[in-house]
């Protein structure tokens, strides 16, 4: 489990994900919601309770509209799955990362990312995840996953990502 957990932080894996995101960007496809939709692995292949299962089957990220921290209905579905999973595996603590796209100024986007992370956290808490398991951090526009100069990338960068930590403690 440790090794699998480490995989998501592996630079090769991250680079692969970014490359796929850019490919999606070029073809103007709908924004993928989960790693499964990106073809990173079948839903059935992940070990129950693993980071891989969380990322692949549950979906580790949600997306936002421009300059908004409102949790959209598609994001509500993802966060509801996250909450169910986190309630099933209570040993995980999480970091909720809030991100913004490049179409805002730096300091404002730090605040916007923070607001997104807080909104996602609050939704999980409303679904029974204890607040003390959730840390939030904003990266503003400093950590884009998709790099192009149009809406197809910006819409992927306006996100909140749930990063698992503290497994099996």
């Amino acid at each position: 489990m440790r090794r699998i957990a480490a995989l998501t932080r592996n630079p090769v894996a991250i680079a692969l994900f970014a490359a796929l995101a850019v490919a999606g960007c070029r073809s103007q496809q709908q924004v993928p919601n989960t790693a499964a939709e990106l073809g990173l692995g079948g839903a059935g292949s992940a070990t129950p309770g693993s980071t891989q299962e969380f990322t692949v089957s549950v979906g580790d990220r949600i997306f936002f509209d421009t300059d908004s921290s409102v949790i959209r209905s598609d994001a509500q579905a993802t966060l509801t799955r996250q909450a169910q999973w986190l309630n099933k595996y209570p040993s995980y603590s999480i970091t909720m990362e809030g991100h913004a796209d490049e179409r805002g100024t730096r300091e404002y986007n730090l605040a916007l990312g923070a607001r997104r992370a807080a909104a996602a956290r609050d939704f999980l808490v409303s679904q029974g995840v204890p607040a003390n398991r959730i840390r939030t951090i904003s990266y503003g526009k400093e950590r884009p996953v998709a790099v192009c100069d149009d809406i197809s990338c910006w819409s992927q960068n306006r996100r909140a990502v749930t990063v698992l930590g503290g497994a099996g403690s």
């Binding site: 100024t105 730096r106 300091e107 404002y108 730090l110 605040a111 607001r115």
Partner: protein, 438 residues
């Protein structure tokens, strides 16, 4: 007339600065009205300073480059010079300079004092009035020769414009390298002309928004180094770093108060909104200036310290607001079509520079402090973060063009003329201009 105005200039250390006796320079016959829309650059001859080594040529080169970049002067190519200056104390043959249309001639000499310091003498001559405008001598440690050149350029600028120059100043900014989705960001500092570039951080953690203290060799900035994004102070002389305050959440968007005693910044609240706080750097006392369920950020003091301009989305989209320095009388001043952010109060007190997003692109503009007289001075695909030159005449900002890998620094005159790239070794963002050095 030909006697030097006595000026002492003791550069004690790189940062301890220069104590110069005040000299009221004569105004040039040809004056530059920098408030006019279009200014014809004044042709000026900067002759190589006499010296036993290359220093005289180097100093003349730095002066020429400063004046040319300002857009207000057109330094004349040396090979057009008719008179060869062999003694900078002797009145030049003005007719030789008028022939090549030089409105002024600058002559000088570099020698070395017994204690090793440089002695730089210079004179500025008005060729059409046929008189000396100024003559000064400066003493400086060898390594500060560029500062001497900038001070001379500032003197010339002031004689022709009637306003203080800005060349003897520095820029702190964020140097960016690597791919867009894995950017390495380092604090860096350089002279306003890009020289003497140094890195102040190693790039292991994200650093953002460095700002100079108006009073000390100190900057405040935001860093992710602890894992929690927080505001720090960095002493430039010692390299000592210090966390500003002990706040529970993210702190960001720091700036100093005009007297350097306080840092004003945003603090993230538990509910995801951000309010503006100050921390007194001596007493460590903190004060909350705003308390809204909104994003309140990017605070910037008026130069007299009595007011603060900031960004807030309390009305929906981000707009610019002004309040008293105690948080009183908060009022919106921007009402144009679009989103406004990153307001910065001019050091002259009369204008606020800002970033505006409208029509799918980003603009740098200025408005009066009541929000009237909005004027866009530059537009681009993605540009933001204005900072004022110490005399309030020039604005630096950063821009990333569509398709570019990274952002670059630019300077532009307040009038919207004379946009110039600022050379940096890598990509650059978040520039902040220092006050004139001391």
């Amino acid at each position: 007339m030909r006697k030097f105005v006595k000026t002492t200039l003791a550069i004690v250390a790189l940062v301890a600065g220069i104590a110069a006796l005040a000299v009221v320079p004569a105004r040039a016959l040809v004056e530059i009205d920098i408030n006019k829309g279009v200014v014809e650059p004044v042709p000026i001859a900067i002759t190589d300073f006499l010296s036993g080594d290359a220093m005289g040529v180097e100093i003349a080169g730095v002066i020429s480059a400063d004046l040319r970049r300002s857009g207000l002067f057109a330094p004349i190519e040396k090979n057009a010079f008719i008179e060869k200056i062999s003694n900078p104390d002797v009145t030049p043959r003005f007719e030789d300079w008028r022939v090549i249309n030089a409105q002024a001639v600058v002559t000088g000499r570099v020698t070395q004092e017994p204690d090793g310091r440089l002695r730089v003498e210079f004179r500025v001559w008005d060729t059409f009035a046929g008189r000396q405008l100024s003559g000064e001598q400066l003493f400086a440690n060898q390594e500060n020769w560029r500062r001497v050149a900038h001070i001379i350029a500032d003197t010339i600028y002031e004689q022709f414009t009637g306003e203080k120059g800005y060349f003897d100043s520095r820029i702190v900014y964020v140097s960016e390298s690597g791919p867009r989705d894995n950017r390495v960001k380092r604090l860096a500092i350089m002279d306003q002309d890009g020289a003497r570039h140094e890195y102040l951080s190693d790039g292991r953690s994200i650093v953002l928004t460095p700002r100079f203290s108006p009073q000390r060799q100190e900057i405040t900035y935001m860093s992710y180094e602890s894992g929690n994004p927080q505001v720090y102070l960095l002493q430039l002389e010692t390299g000592q770093r210090e966390l500003v305050g002990n706040f529970p959440g993210m702190t960001f968007a720091p700036r100093f108060s005009p007297n350097g005693d306080k840092v004003i910044m945003s603090l993230l609240r538990e509910d995801g909104n951000s309010n503006i706080y100050t921390m007194d750097l001596r007493t460590r006392n903190t004060a909350r200036l705003t308390d809204t369920n909104a994003i309140d950020t990017s605070p910037s003091y008026s130069p007299d310290g009595s007011q603060v301009v900031f960004t807030s989305d309390r009305g929906g989209r981000a707009q610019i607001y002004v309040m008293g320095a105690d948080g009183s009388n908060q009022r919106r001043i921007s009402f144009g079509d679009g989103a406004y952010s990153t307001p910065v109060w001019s050091p002259r007190g009369d204008l606020i520079a800002f970033t505006k997003q409208s029509g799918g692109n980003f603009q740098i503009g200025v408005m009066r402090t009541d929000g009237s007289g909005e004027r866009i001075i530059s537009s681009g695909f993605l540009q933001e973060g204005p900072t004022w030159s110490p005399n309030g005449r020039v604005i630096m900002f950063f821009r990333q063009d569509a398709g570019a890998v990274g952002p670059k620094l630019y300077s532009i005159d307040l009038t919207g003329r004379n946009e110039q790239p600022v050379a940096t070794p890598n990509f650059g963002s978040d520039p902040a201009w220092s006050p004139l050095l001391k």
